[in-house]
């Protein structure tokens, strides 16, 4: 059974004059214990999708979906309150820029303690404070922070970015979630810290069988840690498959271009030659092309591309393109 099954999710931004379709019919499914990468350029709607799943978008954004199942339960039929309670129980999210996601005037200890939910506590209410504190310390140990005394008393601005991210992960773990959504967890971090954070996430996945949705703009960086990858472009679904499929046989011209644009993936590239890149840049939300949004930049675009392609499935390797590269392999 799928842990999370989303079909044709759209997110609309309601402005005073018109509405903008920021995310256009994206499907995403996750199995238990899976690590899935969600990859795309900045501005491709990855973070929006994640925030829509967790339900923290404000009222300017309208979310529709054909199907939104969580462990077989249809969340669309539930009221917003019920949906929120189920989601906040089982899904946790860590945001990019951890420093700004921690309350600057509250100590780390207090913020951690309030994330521990009441069901894990036992005994009378006067014992609970102590239990919360102990739970917070245990959580800090879990994410590899040894000096818990110092950390609990600190304010966010007194910690480094990497430590803050660990604290955020600890907070996310407090509910013992089945799914952890990591939205660019290592943005603006040096490589050593990036490695630490990814290793921590990988160990959580292996030891606790926790599913992880890893959002990143850097395809290369996540391949190391993921089983499956979903690629998005400008709010549209592009391609999904196992990491190997995506890396060795990309079906979509966009994925191919993404791979070609990274120097590591094509080592045979002669010295001092130009890297392959797509012309132009990602369209802004106010001026989205119709049909396949890659159209104006796509090397294989033809007249048919003014209509959005349907998703075709080849043994679990899904691609959304009229002229996929499948036949070229």
């Amino acid at each position: 059974m799928n842990l999370l099954d989303i079909r044709n999710l759209s997110i609309e931004l309601q402005t005073t004059n018109n509405s903008i379709l920021a995310v256009d019919h994206v499907s995403l499914s996750m199995k238990e214990g899976e690590v899935r990468g969600l990859v795309g350029e900045s501005g491709s709607g990855k973070s929006l999708l994640a925030q829509a799943i967790i339900g923290v978008l404000d009222e300017r954004w309208h979310v529709h979906a054909d199907r939104f199942h969580w462990r077989g339960k249809d969340l669309l039929r539930l009221s917003p309150e019920e949906r929120k309670s189920i989601i906040s129980q089982d899904v946790a999210m860590i945001f990019q820029e951890p420093m700004s996601c921690l309350d600057p005037t509250t100590t780390i200890g207090e913020q951690l303690a309030e994330a521990v939910d009441t069901e894990q506590l036992s005994g009378y209410f006067w014992q609970r404070n102590q239990q919360r504190k102990n739970a917070a310390i245990k959580l800090l140990h879990k994410v590899g922070i040894k000096h818990h005394d110092l950390c609990i008393k600190s304010y966010p601005h007194q910690l480094t970015e990497a430590l803050c991210q660990r604290v955020m992960i600890a907070m996310a773990l407090a509910k013992r979630p089945m799914l952890l959504i990591a939205d660019e967890p290592t943005a603006a971090m040096e490589t050593t810290n990036q490695g630490q954070i990814f290793r921590l996430l990988a160990s959580l996945n292996q030891l606790k069988n926790m599913s992880i949705l890893l959002i990143s703009h850097d395809l290369e960086n996540v391949t190391h840690w993921t089983n499956n990858i979903t690629v998005m472009y400008s709010g549209q679904f592009v391609e999904a498959g196992t990491t190997k499929q995506i890396f060795t046989e990309p079906y979509h011209p966009y994925t191919r271009a993404l791979l070609n644009s990274s120097p590591k993936a094509n080592i045979e590239l002669p010295v001092k030659s130009r890297l392959m890149t797509l012309p132009g840049s990602i369209p802004i939300l106010q001026h989205l092309p119709i049909g396949c949004r890659l159209g104006p930049r796509c090397p294989r675009a033809q007249q048919a591309c003014v209509k959005a392609p349907k998703v075709s499935n080849f043994h679990g390797h899904q691609v959304s393109c009229h002229f996929s590269l499948k036949d070229t392999y």
Binding site: Q51, I54, V56, K84, S85, S88, Q89, A92, M93, F95, E97, S100, C101, L102, D103, P104, T105, T106, E110, E114, A115, D117, Y155, H157, M168, M171, A174, K175
Partner: protein, 342 residues
């Protein structure tokens, strides 16, 4: 925190020093003999003039004159009033507490009502509550204080006869002057009519304090509303939502404190404004405070009183300013310790 305290005290000292410099130079800028302006003794005989010029080192250079002036101030000798011939320091000690009482009560009323109402407006943003609150705040901020005071007297004192229109306390009650702040004096007195006196004093202060509080209160509503709306947009509130906290929990634990920080900063700045309003109100409500005395001194061209009164009032405003800085630091850990590299 120690460094923070030292820096604030340093700031206080330097500002007070600058204020004395201003009031010292006022003696020379006002019309008349600087010596007369400084001491307040009008029409001195040549003998008195000699004694005065010796006291204030009038024949030495300006620096020594200023130094002597400072010594006089720190000894508490602010000269005598040109109008009443009473020592100004004793007048100020008599009058300043009443102003402190009025302005502090007004400040507390403005903060206790304005800030929570502003928060409510921010939480119900774009709804009808928000619009109503904003309209009232706009109205409250634009009403001139003297007109409001007259209107309040007309309605609440004369027509409805609910509250007294003038003075600090009814003449029936005899309260000994100890600290000067009426409520503390009442508590200290051993009269058997203590509680009646207390009630009477509260009914006297209610109307002027509310009049003074209206404009700053309306401003606090707007400040609190913007601060709260800014905080509710931040990513840590979104993260707290993702943590599964309820809306009320988010407001109580994270939003209020962060929004308060931004409001408290402005309270200190607004206090100067509030004192100005209090001075006008004191005249209308016949409140025996320093503001009314200062305005009367201006009418009477009592230069000694003007410069001493300005010095004392501005020091008081500045002390309150520093106090709000401390409250700000207590709420905001970022302001407390010295940042490295920033």
């Amino acid at each position: 925190m120690l460094i923070f305290t030292l820096r604030r005290i340093n700031l206080l000292l330097i500002t007070v020093l600058l204020l004395t410099l201003v009031s010292f130079s006022l003696n020379f800028l006002f019309p008349g003999d600087p010596l007369v302006n400084m001491s307040g003794r009008i029409n001195p005989t040549p003998d008195q003039l000699l004694i005065l010029s010796d006291q204030y080192q009038h024949n030495a250079n300006y620096f020594i004159q200023y130094w002597t002036y400072l010594q006089h101030i720190f000894k508490g000798e602010l000269g005598v009033s040109m109008a009443s011939h009473l020592p100004i320091s004793s007048e100020i000690i008599n009058l300043l507490p009443a102003t402190i009482e009025l302005s502090m009560t007004a400040l507390i009323i403005a903060m206790c009502l304005g800030i929570p109402i502003g928060f409510i407006a921010a939480i119900s943003h774009k709804k009808i509550t928000d619009n109503i609150i904003l309209t009232i705040a706009m109205l409250g901020y634009s009403i001139p204080v003297f007109w409001l005071a007259l209107l309040a007297i007309l309605v609440f004192s004369i027509q409805l006869n609910w509250l007294p229109s003038a003075g600090q306390i009814s003449l029936l009650y005899e309260i000994k002057h100890v600290t000067g702040i009426q409520f503390i004096d009442i508590m200290l007195s051993e009269s058997e009519y203590k509680w009646q006196a207390f009630q009477n004093a509260s009914s006297h202060i209610l109307l002027p304090a509310c009049v003074v509080a209206l404009a700053p209160g309306a401003l606090f509503i707007r400040l609190a509303r913007t601060a709260m709306m800014d905080v509710l947009e931040t990513s840590y509130i979104r993260a707290a939502k993702a943590k599964g906290l309820s809306f009320l929990q988010i407001i109580y634990r994270h939003a209020i404190r962060n929004a308060l920080i931004n409001v408290i900063r402005h309270v200190g700045l607004q206090f100067a404004n509030l004192i100005t309003l209090a001075m006008v109100t004191e005249v209308i409500f016949n409140w025996p405070g320093i503001g009314r005395w200062l305005i009367e001194s201006i009418y009477q061209r009592d230069y000694t009183a003007i410069q001493a009164g300005l010095l004392v009032l501005s020091s008081f405003i500045f002390i309150v300013h520093i106090l709000t800085d401390f409250i700000y630091a207590a709420l905001n850990p970022l302001a407390r310790d010295t940042k490295h590299g920033a």
